[in-house]
Subunit: 387 residues, 2 copies
Amino acid sequence: MAIQQKLSLMIPGPTPVPEKVLQALSKHPIGHRSKEFQDLVESTSSNLQWLHQTKNDVLTITGSGTAAMEAGIINTLSKGDKVICGENGKFGERWVKVAKEFGLEVIKIDSEWGTPLNPEEFKKILEEDKQKEIKAVILTHSETSTGVINDLETISKYIQEHNKALSIIDCVTSLGACNVPVDEWKLDIVASGSQKGYMIPPGLSFIAMSQKAWAAAEQSNLPKFYLNLKSYRKSLLSNSNPYTPAVNLVFALDEALKMMREEGLENIFLRHNKHKLAMSNAIKALNLRLFANEKCLSPSITAIRTGEMDAEKFRKTIKNKFDILLAGGQDHLKGKIFRVGHLGYVNDRDIITVITAISNVLLDLGQITAKEAGEALVIASRYLNAK
Amino acid sequence: MAIQQKLSLMIPGPTPVPEKVLQALSKHPIGHRSKEFQDLVESTSSNLQWLHQTKNDVLTITGSGTAAMEAGIINTLSKGDKVICGENGKFGERWVKVAKEFGLEVIKIDSEWGTPLNPEEFKKILEEDKQKEIKAVILTHSETSTGVINDLETISKYIQEHNKALSIIDCVTSLGACNVPVDEWKLDIVASGSQKGYMIPPGLSFIAMSQKAWAAAEQSNLPKFYLNLKSYRKSLLSNSNPYTPAVNLVFALDEALKMMREEGLENIFLRHNKHKLAMSNAIKALNLRLFANEKCLSPSITAIRTGEMDAEKFRKTIKNKFDILLAGGQDHLKGKIFRVGHLGYVNDRDIITVITAISNVLLDLGQITAKEAGEALVIASRYLNAK
């Protein structure tokens, strides 16, 4: 029986928040122009650089990941600029909409939802652009809507070879879950959001900007004020903010980043990888099918087809019986898939719990045997126990 | 002696937060697409309408008050539109900058910082606009930088007589502090922020939109995505949000609005009015001068000239000795004034405490006599005790 408020969040955001972080969140606010707050901004900025593996600025804005992606686009481009947008899910679609809203000329590279973008298509179009008219390549690293991770490293190499276009990357569900070495991969603009790998509630988003991105910002003529990143950069020089920031979320951010540093990047990535493997392999053992191509599974989200069963009904049963919140499919996938988020503050217990809950409902429905349920757990354990 | 973290926030935002609201803030987040969250949105929306005294939509966005004002401007206007901007302080200045950034033609009506805008100047320009070219009047109700309240009721009447221009009003430090009857005064767009009268930490802002404002939104051609209010209106129909909202701040908002309803609008306005009178009259008794014209004192902020004394040094002394944070002067007023915020979760004790702390430092400096210090308290009490 479900007990109100004993909820387990297994959706791709908001993700579970550590108690220490919740406590930081509930402190009395302080003045955002005070020395104490400047110290906090200094600490979080330096830890954000560590998380992004970059020496460049990482800016914090009050807003969602969409605000951060929009900021990246409108600060570095101008009306009429030609851009490539990679689109293989709901978020890829969204960046096409943003680009069009601001009058950019969009060359779309798409692939079916559930399959990855083909880097060679990027290569081809970039190589053919002898006039260097393409100003940016916009894409989503981990597609939250489908559980697919795109091959950012390779695509980024092709962008480097073009040598002119900026990369503007939605790393909302990859940053803090798998390796995104911003400087090594020479990514220009990387956007992410607090309610994901960061383990804090929604409300903050982050934008890493390369020197090349800042140089492009000098040329950009799209109108902006609240999302004008130059104001944030100027304020950051004195560890401040141009507009009142979400002070309490910054308390939480500071605490969460310290926890992440304690765990270490490699351990964080390893943990997410194990969870992805345990989850996806157990799902197959339960006779369910993965929605995403298995060669490109996101470290953060597993999307699961339910075949004849109504996925919405299935996830509601899990919610009602076990207080575990799973995500549904978006748009045309509604009712066809459900998605398990395993991102941020998730431990092995959470993984075996959600697998068991899914098994339990499948057993109730007579869809699997006890043996299959047991085997799914054995498989999950094998991945969780792997060195 | 100051004790770390025993801070009293007497700045015009962030303002003090009730314990109950802090506790709501620190709850585990829930899914923003869940029924539970929809219930919360329904509850906060209806209470926001109560607070705004309006039957129209009040939208909640994740962002600062500046984001809300920008949203009001860019959703209802188009490039080249002629607007009047009232400017008598830092925030008035900011809305001029936003308007210019988006290519609007600005007619400025200004007055010296510390003095109110003259409604008759609005009347004159609006009356002369026979071609009805003026599309909006943008102004700040309570100017946080100077402690001046502008005569919004009268200016709004003149806007009504023009019958075409929209009113776009920054009510960031007036809403929830003094009477702003949005429907009665026929205000079209009213922006406010969470860290003010709302008694919650920064991160959310609010925009009330009249039917006339929505009609204008249909014509607006300025590019926007994250701040496109039509998306928020559409989502609100199902008590939802277009992008992940700051879930925990919405928990806090719900709690705070319930507290406000319990106190009642009239009591809230009365309390702020008493505090304004107690504060400003005690300050005069202490031989300090008010910065703002006494006929138009903001209910939320008292700005105080320090004459020969360095205001920054003065407020730092108060901070170091008593853990009371006061705000400094902005821009050219830095070092010349300090500002006491008495907005939101402030009681009579907070008022006599800050007066006493100011008196104490003035006594130490030999600037006042014990008798004067005592008289200031007597005067404050008289206003606080008034029916």
